[in-house]
């Protein structure tokens, strides 16, 4: 029995402002040294699944750079391995930036490549929700229940504050069979109902025929057009996920997700299984004679000479003497110079904040400085 993973590298329902205008959601930095996709890819590695295709839509250049040959996830392989499916993969032409019409349409676009795989089952997942799951357990549940499709849901909300609008909710009977699927029409924070966390398991041949069928009827969305419609006829079962959860679709949930990792107890759950990412060969972090650091995550290659409080600092960041960084996310190779002040801000890669400058946002509306900005 063999399995393959399919990961959507984007989400139809996200608004991360400048952070995702030039990169796929899956390529966004998180937790200091990681990209979002590292967490779901590592789930596959830790579940012993080494055949994974990542569905790219637009702006996939940094995603491709990050993934490389897949070797860092032990997925540089002759059989299976890691592949990025770009919209051009099946049409050898650059003349139209073809955007998929929905999650099923994206699969339809890559049906040829999906069919080529010798895997029997597919684990289909998004990038917007981070969780830690051994897919083998879910597959086992799938096989035991005799389900056509198994979808993961949660009743808890460990680590997240609210269920965003547009999320699919499932209603189950006692045997955990899905009775119906509803799409939330507004944000919900009362933690009621079973929230689908964007993971499902399905036999590959069934997926192929569902894709072909949906496409011929011009139905393009997995939850709306397939799961919701077919719940009465197909045997769709739920699989409860009880672990931690991080949801990233807005600047504030992105901030929340990073901040959540500062809680040692929460972090110990997130990093219980190895999370793989691209190796940078950087040196250990250096702390200077007059630095002050409190409740922060600091990555390799940083030089901390100033003050860092309640922040997540990515690789190769320099925080110079007298500089103060508070309640912020600082991405790779950014430099905060002497006596600069950064609060409630998200600084993208290669930003420079010059001597004494201040970048101060509001807790409810953090400032975002795009890549290579100089302040």
């Amino acid at each position: 029995m063999s399995y393959m993973g399919l990961i959507y590298s984007y989400s139809d329902r996200e608004n991360l402002r400048e952070l995702t205008s030039n990169r796929a959601l899956a390529a966004l930095s998180i937790g200091g040294k990681y990209r979002i996709i590292d967490f779901v890819l590592s789930n596959f590695v830790n579940s012993g699944i080494f055949e994974v295709s990542v569905i790219a839509r637009t702006n996939y250049h940094s995603l491709i750079e990050h993934l490389g040959s897949g070797a860092e996830w032990d997925m540089s392989r002759k059989r299976g391995g890691l592949r990025v499916l770009t919209p051009f993969a099946n049409k050898e032409s650059t003349d139209s930036a073809q955007i998929y019409k929905g999650s099923i349409d994206a699969l339809a676009n890559h049906l040829h490549s999906i069919k080529k795989s010798m895997a029997e089952y597919v684990v289909l997942t998004g990038s917007r929700i981070l969780y830690t799951m051994d897919y083998r357990d879910m597959i086992k549940a799938h096989l035991n229940s005799g389900a056509d499709i198994t979808i993961a849901y949660t009743n808890q909300m460990n680590g997240t504050q609210r269920i965003p609008q547009g999320s699919p909710m499932v209603y189950l009977d006692e045997q955990k069979r899905v009775q119906s699927v509803e799409i939330l029409d507004e944000e919900q924070s009362d933690r009621e109902g079973s929230w689908c966390i964007d993971v499902c398991v399905i036999r590959k041949t069934l997926l192929e025929s569902l894709i072909a069928d949906a496409t011929s009827h011009q139905r393009y969305d997995l939850y709306n057009d397939i799961l919701k419609r077919l719940a009465p006829t197909l045997k769709i079962f739920g699989y409860e996920y009880c672990g931690h959860l991080l949801e990233i679709s807005t600047i504030s949930t992105y901030m929340e997700a990073n901040r959540a990792m500062l809680d040692p107890e929460f972090a110990s759950k997130v990093f219980q299984e190895t999370v793989y990412t691209k190796v940078k060969d950087s040196v250990p972090a250096l702390y200077g004679p007059d630095c002050y650091v409190e409740n922060s995550m600091i990555s390799d290659g940083c030089q901390i000479l100033g003050t860092v409080i309640n922040s997540v600092v990515s690789r190769g960041v320099h925080i110079d003497k007298g500089a103060v960084v508070k309640d912020s996310i600082i991405m790779q190779d950014t430099e905060i110079m002497d006596h600069a002040k950064v609060e409630h801000a998200i600084l993208d890669k290669d930003v420079i904040v010059r001597d004494g400058r201040e970048v101060i946002g509001h807790p409810s509306y953090p400032i975002v400085l795009p890549k290579m900005s100089i302040v």
Binding site: M261, V275, D281, V283, A285, Y287, V313
Partner: protein, 399 residues
């Protein structure tokens, strides 16, 4: 199906050393596998020097406790040495004909691997050891070797005259041609010490290795046999002066000192240089977490650490936990070690997987003198709550 391809220079890295002066730190691993500098092992330095010098074919000669070293080197990928031709290759002793032979000396180890070297038909062979911390461009040394039309070039460094007796010491003429070489002389004639880095013309070396092997009285060693014989034969041996940072980390004190050197500004062992990276195998750990009560000063800290206590003038390896109230000063703490609440660690090397219990004190300077004595706690030892370890002690079982 021949895999033969010419390489201009092949490196042979002697990594079989037991490093017995490092005591408990080399009980289970060969010296080149000893951790250094927060995320490295000693062998990362010669391996990284090789790849940075565009030498991509390296035979790593192992013999003593190679398991961890072999696993560490693996397919060579972390050093960019996973090459189709060449790359890093572990060379253990093996059986020819009816029986096998262990490596009897540095020269014999190379002799036994003549077939490995010959695969690549190199012009030059560079002999390295896995015992030293330094950054060196071996290409520059090769340029020197070629310019001098040498048969052998030995990298040398000036050491204090009183330490010269620990090294191979040579005298040269104004042209840097070596006129005299003595291995660990009682009365050194100069302070030019061999760094244990040799470049040879391969055909010449091969001839001498074969001759030396036939000599029943030889101890099959480069310093004691090959070099003196070549000198006696009037071969062209030259010294190549190296001016950067170099440290033989063969003793507890020198290993500690070399770690502390990293914390000094303006030493030439700059690990941040993007053009001369020191590569190491990566542990896939999350970033370090500095807690709400931590005090950090003049230290290097690695991934996966969780610091709630005080860290000053220290090198902290990955996955170290330093709890609230604990104080670590002037020390090297290796990976996966836990320093419990209110424990104090000073002037110490704490090896991997150690637990230092609540309120324990390691490296008190109880003898009242100013001399720095380094305490060592061996791998996986637990130092119980409230225990006191005097400075200069070695703890190799639970206290």
């Amino acid at each position: 199906m021949s895999l033969i391809k010419k390489k201009d220079m092949v490196a042979m890295l002697l990594a079989g050393g037991q490093g017995s002066r490092l005591g408990v730190l080399t009980k289970d691993v060969a010296k080149p596998a000893v951790p250094f500098g927060g995320k490295y092992r000693i062998i990362d330095f010669p391996l990284s020097n090789c790849i940075n010098s565009d030498i991509d074919t390296i035979g790593v000669l192992t013999q003593y406790q190679p398991m961890e070293l072999n696993a560490y080197i693996g397919n060579g990928q972390p050093w960019d040495l996973d090459r189709m031709y060449g790359g890093a290759r572990i060379l253990p002793p093996y059986v020819r004909g009816k029986e096998g032979e262990w490596y009897k000396g540095t020269a014999n180890a190379i002799y036994q691997n003549i077939p490995f070297i010959e695969q690549y038909s190199p012009n030059y062979v560079i002999i390295l050891s896995g015992d030293h911390i330094y950054k060196m461009n071996y290409r520059w040394m090769l340029d020197h070797h070629m310019k001098k039309d040498a048969d052998c070039t030995i990298a040398v460094i000036e050491v204090p005259m009183e330490e010269a007796n620990r090294f191979g010491v040579m005298s040269t003429n104004e042209n840097l041609r070596i006129t005299d070489f003595e291995e660990k002389p009682i009365k050194p004639k100069s302070n030019l010490a061999s760094m244990g880095v040799y470049i040879f013309d391969w055909p010449t070396l091969k001839e001498y290795l074969i001759r030396d092997e036939e000599d029943p009285h030889s101890s099959k060693d480069f310093g004691k046999n090959i070099i003196p014989t070549m000198l006696a034969d009037g071969k062209r041996l030259f010294a190549y002066k190296y001016l950067g940072y170099w440290k033989d980390v063969g003793t507890i004190e020198s290993l500690w000192q070399a770690n502390m050197d990293l914390l000094k500004e303006n030493i030439s062992l700059e690990l941040y240089d993007p053009r001369w990276k020191i590569y190491a195998r990566n542990g896939n750990l999350p970033p370090q977490y500095i807690g709400r009560h931590a005090t950090m000063k003049d230290s290097h800290v690695s991934e996966g650490c969780s610091i709630e206590g005080t860290v000053e003038n220290s090198i902290i390896f990955p996955k170290v936990t330093i709890k609230k109230g604990a104080v670590v000063k002037n020390s090297v703490v290796m990976s996966s070690t836990t320093i419990d609440e209110n424990a104090h660690v000073n002037y110490s090397i704490i090896a991997e997987g150690v637990t230092v219990g609540d309120g324990a004190v390691i490296g008190e300077n109880t003898n009242g003198t100013d001399a720095v004595l380094i305490s060592v706690v061996a791998d996986r030892v637990t130092v119980g709550s409230g225990s006191r370890v005097e400075s200069g002690s070695v703890v190799d079982s639970n206290l």
